[in-house]
């Protein structure tokens, strides 16, 4: 029985007819990979494009921001700290400091930590080198911020925060705040020695790069030596010194638990119901209805748009927003003659049909023509005298905007630049005739795409009524893309709206 056999033969024979049954789930995955992504792709290619553009915009602005804060990172431009500082609460300041330190401890990668330690041991590194490292850290923090929306403010700005705090230490009050920040850090039980060291090293590094702030350096260093009891005093002093509006808030915060404090991040979400008069017109000379109307005079109509927007603040400069609006648009083509019965004249003057309109059934016999085709010398008298007709086109959309808001001024009054895209879903499409002030339904246009897009640009003005409530006024220009399939002349539609509304922060 025991044939000696080459090992290759053994395996070859055994595996000759080897078949195995995989899990059914594998086929489902294959099927999905082959079919589902295609279906999706077909529906939303422009969404991808729009989202891509938005992402690039955000990225550019963010990178710009990082660069700014990296190059001159002593500019106290970070409003996150500012908001909480106006609270006048040493508690809230402390929370930020502690959070920063924690985040640094947990999220800075080990190599950076080592780099920092070496830096403090060596002590004699060039300023440039330190700056570089700090910038690197900053970038890492920002990357984390992009991925982690919940904590991103603290992360993306934690370094700047500290810089801001340090920079602010020119008045005695904020000096004390800084002390509090530094002193409370070692007192927290769940922070180990490393964290504290890291924090202090960082402080030192900042201070080294800015020699003229040596005064603050002393203060910070002394902090470590001081007693915990001093905190209590500081609290009192701050309470006395900051007689600003939200002192009650600060006390309330001080009484709440640590975890609740952590949740006291600046409000990132905004919801904005809005209403706008919108004016529709075309940039070029053309007609969506028929080639014979290209040269007719046309006038845009003012309609209404209303909807709701939600926005999310990525940082204090940039917001991404999306929403749903219902928008009605309309314009009229003047100088149209309508004949209620086609047999009443011989159609020598232009087309009797209008190629881009599907007529309502009872109007099939009607004929329309442009007055520009009529030579007043040769035309029958009834035509020349009756030229005050118009065709009125009305259409409405459900608009889904996706926009980025970049804040230029951010104080009581704010100024933003807005850019983005909208996807427009057609939900209303009618053409009316207006003759002698009588308006009647003619039919519907057959050349309006059911889905179209617009590129949006605008300015946003806002006024902060309270901490959570803002009044907005946003003139927007929306250039429509892919709206009509078959237009005559050069018809490039756009609409302008002045969007007003209140936005609520939460």
């Amino acid at each position: 029985m025991n044939d000696k056999k080459h090992i290759d033969r053994l395996f070859q024979e055994k595996f000759k007819n080897f078949e195995a049954t995989p899990d059914d789930a594998v086929w489902e995955n294959i099927h999905k990979a082959l079919h589902e992504d295609k279906r999706k792709r077909r529906v939303i290619p422009l969404w991808w494009f729009a989202a891509g553009v938005a992402a690039v915009l955000v990225l550019m602005l963010t990178v710009g921001n990082v660069f700014n804060s990296g190059e001159g990172f002593n500019n106290p431009e970070n409003k996150v700290v500012g908001t909480d500082n106006t609270g006048g609460s040493d508690e809230s300041t402390r929370t930020i400091g502690v959070d920063d330190t924690k985040n640094n401890a947990s999220q800075s990668d080990p190599s950076t930590t080592i780099a920092n330690t070496e830096q403090s041991e060596g002590g004699n590194f060039e300023n440039d080198l330190q700056k570089k490292k700090l910038n690197d850290r900053d970038k890492t923090a920002n990357q984390i911020a992009n991925e982690n929306s919940g904590r991103s403010t603290t992360n993306s700005s934690n370094f700047q925060d500290e810089v801001t705090v340090t920079k602010n230490n020119k008045s005695p009050v904020s000096n004390i705040k800084e002390e509090t920040v530094a002193k409370n850090t070692p007192n927290l039980p769940d922070l180990n020695q490393n964290t504290t060291e890291l924090y202090n090293e960082k402080n030192k590094a900042i201070l080294k790069t800015e020699k003229d702030q040596s005064l603050i350096a002393k203060v910070t260093d002394q902090n470590l030596a001081k007693d915990t009891e001093a905190i209590k005093e500081n609290k009192d002093i701050i309470a006395l010194n900051n007689k600003e509006e939200s002192i009650e808030e600060a006390i309330a915060k001080a009484n709440s638990t640590n975890e609740e404090e952590k949740k006291e991040q600046p409000n990132r979400w905004n919801i904005t119901p809005n209403v706008a008069p919108v004016y529709f017109n075309s940039l070029g000379k053309g007609s969506t209805i028929s080639s014979q109307f290209v040269n007719n005079s046309k006038s845009g109509e003012v309609n209404m748009s209303y909807g709701i927007n939600g926005s999310y603040a990525i940082n204090d400069k940039i917001k991404i927003r999306a929403g749903v609006n219902k928008v009605a648009l309309g314009y009229s083509t003047d100088g149209v003659i309508a004949f209620s019965d086609i047999n009443s004249f011989n159609g020598n003057y232009g087309n009797k049909e209008i190629q881009n309109i599907d007529f309502a059934s009872q109007r099939k016999a009607d004929a329309y023509m442009s007055t520009s085709n009529i030579n007043s010398n040769s035309a029958p008298q009834f035509m020349v005298s009756n030229v005050n007709g118009a065709l009125e086109q009305q259409f409405g959309y459900i608009e889904v905007p996706l926009e980025v808001e970049y804040s230029i001024i951010n104080s009581k009054f704010g100024l933003n630049v807005i850019g983005g895209f909208s996807t427009l879903f057609l939900n209303d499409n009618e053409v009316y005739t207006v003759l002698n002030n009588e308006r009647s339904l003619l039919g519907e246009a057959n050349n309006i795409n059911s889905t179209s897009y617009s590129a949006n640009f605008g300015l946003g003005f806002n006024y902060n009524i309270s901490h959570t409530l803002k009044l907005n006024l946003e003139p927007m220009f929306k250039y429509q893309i892919n709206t009509f399939t078959n237009t005559s002349g050069d018809f490039r539609p756009y609409f302008i709206g002045v969007y007003t509304g209140f936005s609520f922060k939460f």
Binding site: M1, N2, D3, K4, K5, H6, I7, D8, L10, F11, Q12, K14, F15, F18, E19, A20, T21, P22, D23, V26, W27, N29, I30, H31, A33, L34, H35, K38
Partner: protein, 180 residues
């Protein structure tokens, strides 16, 4: 429906035809995946990736060889791809071991056991053993596919055989002692 017609329909990304092709060949292809992978999960991943590639590229299938052969080549490539990106082939010339034939007793050794010890082989040994012994590739072809020298291919094969032989012998000792 004939295989020809199935292929034509697959080229149109027809889900039914794809499903039938999968039913016809998944057993064979999966066995191939099992041999080339470390474990069952990795084999399933390879199976999935392979079939996605197969269906996406089926319009490149030119009917010159058999569909099965073409599918197998894609599958082997997919399996190798996994290791190419990891870089297990990046090994400089090892000592050349003489190509010794290993003789073993052919007892009733289960397929599961043999598959298990193949999967346990270090990646580079497993791939070379599979390619050379079970899928009839030459050392030159293996060398080209894996980006190694033919010498390395040969020495890897010998080491693979040695390891497999040892494991089979150990297994026999164990089963013998149990039966005693």
């Amino acid at each position: 429906m004939s295989l020809e017609q199935l292929i034509i329909n697959c080229k149109k990304n027809d889900a039914k035809a794809q499903s039938q092709i999968y039913k016809l060949f998944s057993g064979k292809i999966f066995s191939l995946c099992l041999k080339y992978s470390k474990n069952y999960a990795e084999a399933q991943d390879n199976l999935q990736d392979s079939f996605v590639t197969i269906f996406k590229k089926i319009d490149q299938f030119s009917h010159k060889g058999s569909l099965e052969g073409w599918m197998k080549r894609i599958t082997i490539n997919t399996a190798l791809q996994r290791y190419r990106s990891v870089g297990v082939f990046d090994i400089v010339n090892e000592d050349q071991i003489e190509d010794v034939a290993v003789e073993i007793d052919d007892d009733e050794i289960s397929l599961d056991f043999l598959l298990g010890i193949i999967q346990e082989l270090p990646d580079r040994y497993r791939l070379v053993f599979n390619l050379y012994v079970l899928d009839d590739y030459s050392h030159q072809e293996i060398a080209d596919m894996l980006g190694i020298s033919t010498g390395t291919s040969k020495s890897n094969l010998s080491r693979a055989r040695m390891i497999l032989k040892e494991k089979i012998e150990q297994y026999k000792v164990r089963t013998n002692s149990q039966s005693l």
